[in-house]
Amino acid sequence: MAEHREGAGQTGQLSEHGHPAKEIHQLDRVVIRFAGDSGDGMQLTGDRFTSETAQLGNDISTLPNFPAEIRAPAGTLPGVSSFQVAFADYDILTPGDAPNVLVAMNPAALKANIADLPKGGTIIVNTDEFTKRNLAKVGYDANPLEDDSLAGWDVHKVGLTSMTVGALAELPVSKKDAERAKNMFALGLLSWLYSRPHESTMAFLERKFAARPELVAANKAAFNAGWNFGETTEGFAVRYEVPPAQMAPGNYRNITGNAALALGLVAAGVKAKLPVLLGAYPITPASDILHELSKHKKLGVTTVQAEDEIAAIGVALGAAYGGALGITTTSGPGVALKSETISLAVALELPLVIVDVQRAGPSTGLPTKTEQADLNMALYGRHGEAPVAVVAAQSPVDCFHAAIEACRIALKYRTPVILLSDGYVANGSEPWLLPEISELPDLQVEYATGPNGEDGKFYPYLRDPETMARPWAVPGTPGLEHRIGGLEKADKTGDISYDPANHDFMVRTRAARIEAIDVPDVEVEDPSGEAKVLVLGWGSTYGPIGAASRALRQRGVNVAQAHLRHLNPLPKNLGEVLASYDKVVIPEMNLGQLANVIRARFLIDVVAYNQVRGLPFTSTQLETMLEEVIKNV
């Protein structure tokens, strides 16, 4: 890694434990991947390391990667779960293309991840798991720790399990519980190696095992044993520091995209002064939004775990009809099932937010892997002419703001809005500069309270001249009793109408009112002002595209970057922006869905760069690709 450069070391002091203090090297950026069996607690270990790192003030980006199976057979390749964390003394946009350090808890974790670790990188490996049986399980003929197959890497062979069990020998815990604490030993070792503060982990262990004090003691002891092992063993000659990043002043917390999205929905309810009702059916990778929202009844959030995806959106729509902020959260297969109800919401012209945390498809596809291939479905996946607004989140923190924006559009324009997230931003995390509530947009809208016609009657489909929204006349309002439904409605009255001219008018009106939604102009980032190539993205590709663009600029290569939050309607200035570049490149984790929209809409032959591997782009691959395009312009 170009960014993994070492600064001047400090040597010579004695540590607090009396051992000769180790040399400390300064790094500006480190990427660590914790990998182990699904049951090894790697997600938790990664989370804790991230939290410690956040406390230190580094910028952070994380990427968990876990199997769809809850517990695949122990020790097998499908059972490997990993968590990658990048941290730096400057602001970073991605969790890193490749790790500098791989923590491998078993042979499967080593085998599944070694290809991603550049030569020269560090491997910390749990030797206790490298038994004949475990090696055979993953197809190692020989023990890679005992031959030269790991030559070129800096390998630290550590008996993580046995040392943990040894360290806990005096404590009143079972051998099984002692073995399970090995992830804390690994965390302690890594925390020592990268000079992380350990207080938050100690506090966390006290919270997590509050009901079982013996486990608090055991896990703390394992952590400390790992820390002390680093300090005393000769195997680790050098310790590292990554100084804090320059970050804007304020309060921060580390947040995943799913948590940020859920909090955005809560915030939208507060800023709209409306109760929030979520209808949801559990689905990976969206379920965490349901889990999070179910905790916030105090803030007026009701969650209904419905019998299926269709019921989930039905419940949300019923609540919206009653005047609530109706939300449904799901992933691609769920959106497919909700399609008919979204069309009904288009006809009813009620506010509704549909969150699609995209995963790799078609069908069940790769449920825990990321993709952006639901854009076509979001834009077009309904019967009849049924346009809806589409908004996409570009980073974990941005999920908060994108959720508020989706709710703003839904409420103000009385329309279904599809909010696209994906597995990458949903499960990834980054530090969040916590916003002031007063700075969040005011989302209040008015219910209809009386007749709106000049003749003193109520017209359910008489529109606001500015927003083209119809009145939100909720049941319970005296004098506004009316009937709505999926049958085509007459303009203004909302009565059933089979009149051809009326249908033509209503179809065009529904299209026009979505097209007329006020969305901000797209902004272009081009510090040089001289770029000839524009790279256009949407959603979670923001991080890798941004990192690639920066890397190019650092090398004197000009590139302009623009990122779309609004996929429907598109920003009004987009055509003009696109036309001002010689070439437009669109990287997407699909086979060119936005590229096709842009081609059709603006008649620009964009360069589509596509990948559907269930993994985000690396910034390096985008950098290489963009440089090639720029060279040929």
Binding site: A306, L344, T477, R483
Partner: protein, 343 residues
């Protein structure tokens, strides 16, 4: 929203300005008229009454009532009504559905609304046929039914809607007939008063595609022998001058019909709609054969258990009791967990 003072309304107040477009002679007219004359006696303001329907002939019902209403999509009315009911406890929410809408495409939503005991009143107009799509067999059509889509007879066995509702843990289950306004209104009244889901099957004649499906229950020549009127706390007798009774033979899981003079008075079953064990109501629901002989009408089961709405509301209220100013609570929420400060 509005206060709950009883209001004096008449049937006319509940008629919308829309032209009713069912086929002349359809049983739906009778049900609509019964509903329009029944609603005023509830004393609930029009604006707090909502009818939600799915798709099918019966689902046009909301258009003809001057209340709030939504004509939604096929089978989904119970789900939409659930969202409305749980978020708006001040409303009275009715679902109007048919045998295809509720039992075929929407079967899942029906059973889950019933098991949750959502505070909605579900009226299932059962005409044993698909009307709006012009005459295919439905999930309540008898096996062997010859229709446009089954020219040599259908091969699938029908649902018994009452048995199904009981199996789905429904707390209120009743059956009535379109042509008997008095009985229909009496059942609607009990359904409206029930806290939780009320399921009412209404036998409804489709005079175009399945005419006379329930004729034996209406024809003065046959109805006494075919129809059993259930009254809570009353012995279950039927037939001319109480000629027949329902008993529970020892050693049997089911119920039986006997001639009144062949059994002791003590053996005649007394109807208990409030029996906790649904097995009794289920046994009642199995009395009738495919020929409709021994069809009970009335309230099969009416028991009190907490509604979904109440349980959800209780949790919300408990949480809200601890709430402060919303923006302050939101700020506290965002700032919770492991936070740090950059100066």
């Amino acid at each position: 929203m509005s206060n709950a003072l009883p209001v004096q309304l008449s049937a006319k107040d509940f008629k919308s300005d829309q032209e009713v477009r069912w086929c002349p002679g359809c049983g739906d007219y009778a049900i609509l008229a019964a509903m329009q004359t029944f609603l005023p006696e509830l004393g609930i303001p029009r604006e707090r009454t909502v009818f939600v329907s799915g798709i099918g002939c019966s689902s046009r019902f909301p258009y003809y009532l001057n209340t709030y209403g939504m004509h939604s999509i096929h089978g989904r009315a119970p789900a939409i009504a659930t969202g409305l009911s749980v978020s708006r406890p001040d409303l009275t929410v009715w679902v109007v559905t048919g045998d295809g809408d509720a039992l075929s495409i929407g079967g899942n939503h029906l059973i889950h609304a019933l098991r949750r005991n959502v505070n909605i009143k579900i009226l299932l107009f059962n005409n044993k046929i698909y009307g709006l799509t012009k005459g295919q067999y439905s999930p309540t059509s008898e096996i062997g039914k010859i229709t446009k889509s089954t020219p040599t007879g259908s091969s699938d066995a029908p649902f018994n809607p009452i048995s199904l509702a009981l199996g789905a843990e429904a707390s209120f289950v009743a059956r009535t007939i379109d042509s008997d306004r008095k009985h229909l209104q009496s059942v609607l009244r009990q359904a409206a008063e029930h806290q939780g889901s009320a399921f009412v099957e209404i036998y409804q004649n489709c005079n175009i595609f399945n005419d006379g499906a329930f004729e034996v229950l209406k024809d003065p020549e046959t109805r006494d022998a075919y129809l059993i009127r259930l009254e809570h706390g009353q012995p279950i007798t039927f037939g001319k001058d109480g000629s027949h009774v329902v008993t529970h033979p020892a050693g049997s899981f089911g119920l039986a019909v006997s001639e009144a003079d062949k059994v002791d008075a003590g053996e005649v079953l007394t109807h208990d709609a409030h029996a906790e064990d649904p097995a009794y109501a289920f046994a009642l629901s199995r009395l009738a054969g495919p020929d409709l002989r021994h069809t009970p009408v009335g309230v099969f089961r009416s028991v009190r258990r907490p509604s979904y709405d109440e349980l959800v509301r209780n949790q919300l209220d408990a949480a809200k009791a601890k709430a402060g100013e919303p923006e302050a609570d939101l700020a506290a929420l965002l700032n919770s967990g492991d936070t740090w400060t950059i100066l």
